[in-house]
């Protein structure tokens, strides 16, 4: 019998439908049905100025907007042959890591609610707000930041930001131990999560699964180490791994990543304190350079020829490995923008990690995938 779990189901964070075929209580087949959130972001991008696509990136993944902004913008800069100031690279690394903390804490809050623990949910939401406050202090927004620009970032960090961020990090670090105590110390948590949704590293590679799901199966693959972008080669951190490859292992990996992110954020803040400077490239063509180019101003709406090129970037986004491919044929709009969403690939293997488990196991298993439907459907 086929059962529709969704599109309106407490387990589906975002709008999607999981069709499962069941034999009694056992799952024998699964087929996720996507597309409820398809907004044609890749198509709209072809009609937008390079900087305007950044606006769409916040909407692509609504819990990790800044990671998607830096992903797109590094590919766009490669396609346009534009160099970025050193300080902007470090700010991007800082925002990526803050975003990872925000996203993982949000995941924690949603996941524990999926398995029936209400109190940790409130703790998670409370702590995520501190990260959003930090974002608000330098982007002006809590969710749709529009902070990156071709050639750097829109504005520098405000005075006193680094001290404020350090205080938040000092406050967060012991909270992660609290999270662990609430979950790992709970017998209910272990009974609901241990030995569920098992995947081996080989299966993950074959299915294209990346991110915490792959690392929980024992493979220490992290683009920040393997193929450093921004300035990840200049900071110290460890790649979090676990061996079991089940739901509990994914929880452990994400919790360790939170701690490692705090470590990276602290190093970024130290570096930014010592190295003031420009955050936006100075020698940009007028239509790219002005952060708020007036519409109709010379060069902005006129058709400009620019050396063509193709840009590719890959970023270790909170959910896994995200990629962008930007084709520039010399016009003022990108000719084609293509994104690889990590959740898209992680969900495509749903059948492999659901078959054989009970229907009641679906919420913890799908919760451990960390689904963000916005980036799957785009």
């Amino acid at each position: 019998m086929w059962v529709n779990m969704g599109p309106q189901h407490p387990m589906t964070h975002g709008l999607w439908n999981l069709k499962v075929r069941i034999d009694g209580e056992i799952i024998v087949d699964a087929d996720p049905e996507m597309g409820y959130l398809h907004r044609g972001i890749e198509k709209i991008s072809e009609d937008r100025h390079y900087n305007e696509v950044v606006t769409l990136m916040d909407r692509t993944c609504y819990v990790a907007g800044l990671s998607w902004e830096t992903l797109y913008i590094t590919a766009a800069e490669a396609a346009l042959h534009i160099e970025v100031p050193e300080r902007a690279r470090w700010i991007r690394m800082l925002t990526d890591e803050l975003q990872r903390i925000g996203s993982h804490v949000m995941w924690y809050a949603a996941f524990v609610q999926d398995i029936g623990l209400m109190t940790p949910f409130l703790y998670g939401m409370r702590d995520r707000d501190l990260i959003l406050d930090l974002f608000q202090s330098f982007t002006g927004a809590r969710m749709t930041y529009e902070y990156n620009r071709v050639g750097g970032v829109r504005n520098d960090l405000p005075n006193g930001f680094t001290d404020r961020a350090r205080k938040v990090m000092d406050w967060l670090m012991p909270r992660f131990d609290e999270y662990d105590a609430l979950c790992l110390g709970s017998d209910i948590f272990h009974r609901r999560c241990d030995d569920l949704g098992r995947l081996s590293a080989t299966e993950c590679i074959d299915l294209g699964i990346t991110g915490p799901m792959l690392r929980s199966a024992g493979l220490a693959r992290d683009l920040r180490k393997d193929r450093p972008y921004h300035r990840y080669d200049q900071v110290d951190f460890d790649v979090a791994t676990a061996t079991a490859g089940d739901v509990t292992a994914r929880y452990l990996v994400r919790m360790e990543e939170l701690r490692q992110s705090v470590r990276i954020v602290r190093q970024c803040l130290d570096w930014l304190d010592k190295h003031p400077g420009s955050v936006l490239a100075q020698e940009l063509p007028r239509w790219l350079g002005a952060p708020y180019a007036p519409v109709g101003a010379e060069g902005y709406l006129l058709k400009r020829r620019y050396p063509s090129g193709t840009g590719f970037s890959a970023v270790e986004e909170p959910h896994g490995e995200a990629q962008a491919y930007v084709v520039n044929t010399g016009g003022e709009h990108p000719y084609r923008v293509k994104f690889r969403s990590p959740v898209f690939a992680n969900m495509s293997g749903a059948k492999s990690y659901l078959v054989g488990y009970h229907v009641a196991d679906i919420p913890p298993i799908m919760g451990s995938v960390d689904i963000c439907v916005g980036e799957v459907d785009r």
Binding site: G35, H38, E42, K43, I205, G208, F312
Partner: protein
């Protein structure tokens, strides 16, 4: 791996069906090949060269023809490779990579519905993001965003 090494390695296997190996920033290289060599190349790249992780499949509509590109990652080499081929717009057929990389199934479904590439021997070539029976391939250049009559969702009778 350098583009020259990659070229030497692949030229032996594909002969004239290998069109070029170009340098590409951040990758081992951009391999341009004839579409008839697709399956052979995929097998070789995965099994012999070790690019076991397929990351992305995308299509580009160049109006007179369409381009299909594959991005794969190797854990041993710690780098990406880009495989790219052209298919004519009036006959957009290409051999599916799904028998080689399981991960290709969803990526190719997406390239099929958005850019209209027809993957032969694909196990499950259904639409993924757009509704069943939707009559368009929205990422083709002929699909215009500004024409209001297109905003209404037109579906075939299914």
């Amino acid at each position: 791996m350098k583009p020259e090494e990659l070229k030497d390695n692949l030229a032996e296997l594909l002969g004239p069906r290998l069109l070029a190996v170009e340098p590409f920033a951040g990758m081992a290289g951009r391999v341009r090949f004839e579409r008839t060599a697709a399956l052979e190349l995929f097998r070789h790249v995965r099994e012999v060269l070790g690019y076991r992780h397929l990351s992305m499949v995308g299509g580009i509509d160049w109006v007179d023809h369409r381009e299909v590109f594959y991005v794969a990652w190797s854990d041993e080499r710690k780098e990406y490779v880009l495989l790219s081929t052209d298919v004519p717009a009036d006959d957009p057929h290409l051999e599916s990579a799904a028998p080689v990389w399981t991960a290709a199934v969803w990526h190719e479904r997406e390239a099929f519905e958005l850019v209209g590439i027809l993957f032969d021997h694909h196990p499950d070539l259904r639409r993924l993001l757009t509704p069943e029976g939707y009559a368009f391939h929205p990422l083709l250049r002929s699909f215009k965003l500004h024409e209001p009559e297109d905003l209404e969702v037109k579906t075939r009778n299914v």
